[in-house]
């Protein structure tokens, strides 16, 4: 970790957003490359997002900028005057939404470039603070009402050095939650029907990789429905509630829950592959209909959105 001499240099203001570099190592370890410079320019210049999206076809552009990302949590009733810790904020796909619902949002992002993108993108959000650095290095002097792990848990093994990195990561996070605070996790279901149907695994790009349990794991893991419940229990989270964003948690149009599961005909044809090419082994909608008939939708939903609580 590299500390700078002048305290003032470690805090940058973009608009009214505070960017905190105290815990920044000086190197961006995670990057989508040149595209992030493009994104930075887009948000800096206030370019019309609708126009940008209309003219591009790169997944990175869609996944970082599409308003459809908000659907994941748009509907959720955050407690008034709450504080939110967004871990792995990326380019801020959901950060704006969180700012709209919370008294204070602290977004942690490993990469300086991405932090800048967030800063410029939400430069008028006075309740936003961005901390650049690795969560484990960052000393937070407060606990939060909500912590979000949107597409983050699967990487825990990469930045948690332990025998059971996912559990230990969750335990570590739990410490940053207020009592009764809510942990929000969005993650792909390793048994998502789209994977059976031939969609490539989102993180490794390999067909059937999650179904086969990532035989050549590179520190990536997703979980099945029960597996995830067990994991959360092992970290002492309780009141676990599952939601099923369809077709996935990144670009959802419908959010189902245990208490409102899809009916026959309610799931669209095939999971859209905005990110990479795919195989189509069968008609997912028909298989979903069969699964629904057999009460197995929850096991085969493409993504999970999980809420759970810190009860001591």
């Amino acid at each position: 970790m590299k500390y700078k001499n002048n305290e003032n240099e470690l805090i940058e203001k973009i608009g009214v957003v505070k960017i905190d570099y105290h815990f920044y190592s000086g190197n961006d370890l995670y990057s989508d490359g040149e595209i992030e410079n493009e994104l930075l320019n887009i948000v800096k210049n206030n370019t019309d997002i609708t126009e940008v999206l209309g003219e591009d076809n790169r997944w990175s552009v869609l996944c970082h900028l599409s308003p459809q990302r908000r659907n994941l949590l748009e509907w959720y009733n955050f407690e008034p005057n709450s504080t939110i810790l967004e871990i792995g904020a990326g380019c801020g796909a959901l950060t704006g939404l969180l700012c709209d619902h919370a008294q204070k949002v602290v977004a942690i992002e490993l990469s300086k470039k991405r932090a800048e993108i967030i800063g410029h993108r939400y430069r008028d959000k006075a309740n936003l603070e961005v901390i650049v650095g690795n969560l484990h290095d960052i000393q937070l002097n407060e606990k939060f009402d909500y912590i979000t792990l949107i597409g983050v848990l699967e990487y825990a093994a990469k930045f948690t050095d332990s025998e059971n990195p996912y559990r230990d990561f969750l335990i570590d996070i739990k410490k940053k939650l207020q009592p009764n605070g809510v942990l929000i996790i969005a993650i792909e279901n390793k048994f998502g029907l789209k994977y059976w149907a031939g969609a490539k695994e989102d993180h490794t790009g390999k067909v059937f990789d999650s179904l086969e349990g990532y035989p050549q794991s590179r520190g990536i893991a997703t979980f099945g429905h029960d597996e995830l419940t067990t994991l959360l229990n092992s970290a002492n989270f309780s009141d676990i509630e599952y939601y099923y964003p369809m077709p996935d948690y990144k670009m959802p149009t419908n959010i189902f829950s245990k208490d409102y599961l899809p009916e026959i005909g309610q799931i669209g044809a095939c999971s859209p592959n905005y990110d990479q090419d795919r195989l189509v082994m069968f008609r997912e909608n028909l298989v979903y209909n069969s699964l629904i008939k057999n009460d197995k939708f929850e096991f085969f939903a493409n993504s999970f959105l999980v809420f759970c609580k810190n009860r001591g």
Partner: protein, 932 residues
């Protein structure tokens, strides 16, 4: 409160983007709709208003209750099953009867749901379609899709959604789109069950209606999503999908592909083998080449040693003795010995002759024998032998003149001349022209050869350059064939024989050339330069690339008569000019190539041609440019206009021939201006009928004869050309004449006029340029080469002229504009006056030996002259001549010393002083007459 379900539609226009959630609170479920954009707030309000409206409009059906709270609409959550669920069940069970029953129920429900009219709304969704004569709901919830109507246990219907309510929409449209949407949702189940059209048929919807509804639905979709679907962008990001069916199909092709792949492997293997073979062969070739190079260098060394040996041999007393002996033997054999042999025994001779034919007697003997045989034939001694005569006839050696221009370089001269005189070809003469060498040894060497009857030499009056020197040699030569030899080079003894043999063998050849040996003085290296690689066709274009027909070359004298002799302005590359001109005028058949090195070209640092490389380069460029210009003019690729000005007086047939000859030889843009000098009516009629109708011909008919000068004066004013060419109507032009004339004119900006080489039909020259001499106030004009034969090569010289006769001459258009054509000239001397004007302007006039025209002049043919008395009278009327002479005197203060005119004026017997006073008197009278 717990949210159970959420749904979004961000692909819509922002004003319609809303969120629908189902939530549970205190055990009760509700549905909530709220805006996800600021703009959509209105839409939420509209939904609540729709609720209020439908409550009053739709009597027989329950409308899910709604309330408005904090800009959100809260709906009652309806329990039960939707039409959609019933239909889906029937679909999955493939129960068509049940399926259609449900549809039927739904249709009945719609038809009775509210008040209707037969008038649809104008321009629904801004579309230009007619909805009249369709049953329309006054208040139409067009989104009454199957999943938006629920049926409870009691069979009561409830509408759960009323987002899209419009005025006066056809009931069948609602039916149409409900079915359409359901089909889209369950399309996989419809396959093999029921088709869309069957359902529409069942509902008695016409195709016409369906088309309208399709348009209406598109209009509605545009209303919701916008015409450019700005917010439906995600679909553009979809990447490629390969279905299992595709992969299966591909895999079926796999064996085929594999087979192809295998055959490809086979081919690749073959290719590799072939490559290796080629490589091996290539390597062996390298080896061979290496051996070859080695062998060549060995042979070169051996060759050099041979040269040395030969030189040593030649230097020996024995060799010299042998030569002397051979000469003596030849002499004896050609005279007494053979005669004695012949006279003593004719039969013996025949024996010897037969032996010779069998190749048993040396070639020298053969020559000697034949020479004797000629003499014998002259004496009619053995002229009865036909077979032998054919053989003699074969042996006719034309005289070849070897021309050697000399300037200094005396150290090489002896070898040069000796090589020319030692030719095995007997009938040669050697002509040396000295260009005023400063090296005195040159003259002693030349004198040393003086006793040789086949040797002559002359000396230029002044140092004149290579072209003039060679021309003098050619003019001095007696042979029809000219071989060119430079004074520092030498010939192989068989050079002329071999090349002439080749020339004879190829009939039509007029330009023979050979390979050569470059002898480097500094290094003693002899290097054969062969032109085997240069084509023996398309000489013109090949020569334009570069010269290669240079040493040895033998050219027929007629070539120079045709193309002109060497031009001094090309000194240094004059032979290149000759080669190009030969190729241009004679074509490929002129050339004949002997691929043997017959000429030793010495390369040393005292070259006779002392022009700098840069200067020669410029000259070569000029030569090439003129060659191309010739071709362009011949082909008409020149955007200059040529005006032909023809004075016509009777001789109607000649006028026609004259014009036709121009048409046949000229392709550049041109005009022909004919000035008819009051010809007889039948001539005028003829010209009108046969000449005036020709392309590019204008004829002006004068009602009185203005004389030759007057006519030309009038006609030339009409000419618009860049070049103006005066022609008498009895002049017939020849092929290529025009390009020769124009190239000559353009070769020097100073040149204002070029006169043709004008030849009478009998081949004698009328003029080839002209000159004058001034003495004591008298000027005498004369024609150059007048009366000489055209074939006399001396008349092929290029030279400046003091004046140019007006009859067959090119003038540059811009010069003509500056000239004054005096009205005082009637039938003579206007061309003399014009020439003096041109000279006074500082311009030049020149001849052009290669631009030949034939003048069918009346004076040439006395018989013709007699039959055209009238012409004579008009052309040579006395008063006209006198007036012209006086005018010339008035304008130039010179009396023309013309014997003929002086006779007409009775002045031929007078002294100069008397003539002067008479002319002065006449001039005063004329001046007086003009004023009067």
């Amino acid at each position: 409160m717990k949210i159970l379900y959420a749904k979004y539609n961000r692909e819509r226009l922002p004003e319609f983007q809303i969120e629908t959630t189902i939530y549970q609170s205190n055990g009760e479920k509700n549905v909530k709709k709220r805006a996800t954009t600021v703009q959509a707030g209105k839409h939420i309000k509209k939904i609540y208003e729709n609720y209020l409206l439908l409550q009053t409009e739709y009597q027989s059906i329950h409308i899910a209750t709604a309330s408005m709270q904090n800009n959100e609409v809260i709906f009652e959550y309806i329990q039960g099953q939707s039409f959609d669920q019933y239909l889906a069940k029937a679909l999955v069970q493939r129960d068509k009867k049940e399926f259609l029953n449900i549809i039927q129920r739904y249709a009945i429900l719609l038809n009775n749901i509210g008040k209707t009219t037969l008038v649809g709304i104008k321009q629904p969704f801004g579309l230009n379609i007619e909805l009249d004569v369709m049953k329309c709901l006054n208040v139409a919830n067009i989104d009454l899709t199957f999943d938006n109507i629920f049926i409870d246990e009691k069979g009561c219907y409830s509408i759960i959604d009323y987002e899209w309510v419009f005025e006066m929409m056809p009931i069948n449209f609602i039916l149409y789109r409900s079915i359409y949407i359901m089909h889209h949702k369950y399309c996989d189940y419809f396959t093999g069950f029921i088709g869309l059209s069957e359902i529409y048929d069942f509902l008695e919807m016409s195709q016409e209606q369906i088309e309208i509804f399709k348009t209406l639905e598109d209009g509605f979709q545009q209303y919701v999503h916008g015409s450019d679907q700005l917010y439906m962008t995600a679909v553009n990001y979809l990447k490629e999908s390969d279905s299992l069916a595709d992969i299966y199909r591909e895999s079926k092709r796999l064996p085929e592909v594999l087979a192809w792949g295998n055959s490809l492997d086979e081919i690749l293997k073959d290719k590799e083998e072939k490559n290796n073979e080629l490589l091996a062969w290539g390597n062996s070739l390298d080896e061979t080449i290496k051996n070859k190079d080695q062998r060549i260098s060995e042979l070169a060394i051996w060759g050099n040693s041979l040269d040395e040996t030969l030189q040593k041999c030649q230097a020996t007393y024995t060799y010299k003795l042998q030569c002397k002996y051979d000469k003596l033997r030849d002499h004896i054999m050609s005279t007494s010995f053979m005669k004695i042999l012949l006279l003593s025994n004719k039969n013996n001779l025949h024996k010897a002759f037969n032996k010779m034919r069998k190749g048993e007697i040396s070639s020298l003997f053969k020559k000697a024998y034949q020479r004797v045989s000629f003499e014998v034939a002259d004496h009619h001694t053995i002229n009865d032998d036909q077979q032998d005569e054919q053989l003699y006839a074969h042996e006719q050696e034309a005289l070849v003149s070897i021309v050697i221009p000399v300037y200094n370089n005396s150290q090489y001269l002896e070898k040069c001349i000796t090589s020319a005189l030692s030719q095995t070809y007997i009938n040669v003469e050697v002509i040396v022209v000295d260009d005023c060498s400063t090296d005195e040894r040159v003259y002693s060497i030349l004198d040393s050869f003086a006793t040789n009857t086949r040797f002559r030499w002359t000396k230029n009056a002044t140092n004149s350059g290579i072209s003039a020197t060679m021309n003098n040699g050619i003019i001095a030569s007696q042979g029809q064939w000219i071989a060119f030899l430079d004074c520092d080079d030498w010939l192989d003894v068989e050079a002329v024989e071999k090349l002439m043999g080749r020339i004879y063998a190829k009939s039509g050849s007029v330009y023979g050339y050979t390979d050569r040996v470059n002898a480097y003085e500094a290094t003693d290296v002899m290097e054969i330069e062969s032109f085997k690689c240069r084509p023996t066709e398309n000489y013109f274009s090949e020569l334009l690339i570069g010269m290669y027909t240079s040493h040895l070359k033998i050219i027929h004298k007629d070539v120079f008569s045709r193309i002109g002799l060497h031009e001094s302005r090309f000194d240094g590359a004059q032979d290149y000019d000759i080669a190009l001109k030969t190729a241009y005028h004679f074509g490929d058949s002129a050339f004949c190539y002997l691929p043997e090195p017959m000429y030793y070209h010495r390369i040393h640092n005292k070259q006779t041609t002392n022009e700098s490389a840069e200067k020669i380069e410029n000259i070569v460029d000029a030569i090439k440019n003129e060659a191309r210009q010739r071709l362009n003019i011949q082909q008409g690729n020149v955007d200059k206009l040529v005006s032909f000005v023809i004075i016509s007086f009777d001789k109607k047939d000649m006028t026609l021939q004259c014009v036709q000859a121009i048409g046949a030889t000229v392709k550049v843009p041109y005009e022909i201006i004919i000035f008819d000098n009051a010809s007889s009516p039948d001539t005028v009629e003829f010209i009108k009928e046969y000449v005036e109708i020709l392309d590019k011909v204008q004829v002006f008919y004068s009602d009185k004869n203005l004389g030759c000068a007057g006519g030309r004066r009038q006609a030339i004013k009409m000419a618009k050309g860049d070049y103006i060419i005066n022609l008498d109507n009895d002049i017939i032009v020849t092929p290529n004449w025009l390009e020769e004339l124009i190239v000559r004119a353009d070769s020097d900006a100073q040149i204002a006029a070029v006169c043709c080489k004008t030849i009478f039909p009998d081949g004698s020259i009328q003029f080839n340029g002209a000159q004058f001499a001034i003495k004591d106030g008298f000027i005498s004009f004369s024609l150059i080469n007048s009366g000489e034969r055209d074939t006399n090569v001396a008349t092929a010289l290029w030279h400046d002229c003091d004046w140019v006769p007006g009859g067959a001459t090119l003038f540059k258009g811009d010069i003509v504009a500056q000239l004054e054509y005096s009205t005082g000239y009637v039938n003579a001397f206007e061309d003399n006056d014009i020439s003096l004007q041109i000279a006074a302007m500082g311009h030049k006039m020149v001849n052009c030996p290669s631009a030949k025209v034939y003048h069918h002049h009346v004076m040439f043919n006395q018989k013709q002259a007699d039959t055209e008395q009238k012409y004579i009278q008009a052309r040579y009327n006395t008063s006209g001549f006198i007036k012209s002479l006086v005018t010339f005197y008035q304008r130039n203060n010179l009396i023309i010393a013309d014997q003929y005119v002086h006779e007409l004026m009775d002045m031929d017997q007078l002294s100069h002083a008397e003539v002067k006073s008479k002319v002065q008197k006449l001039a005063e009278d004329q001046l007086h007459a003009d004023k009067g």
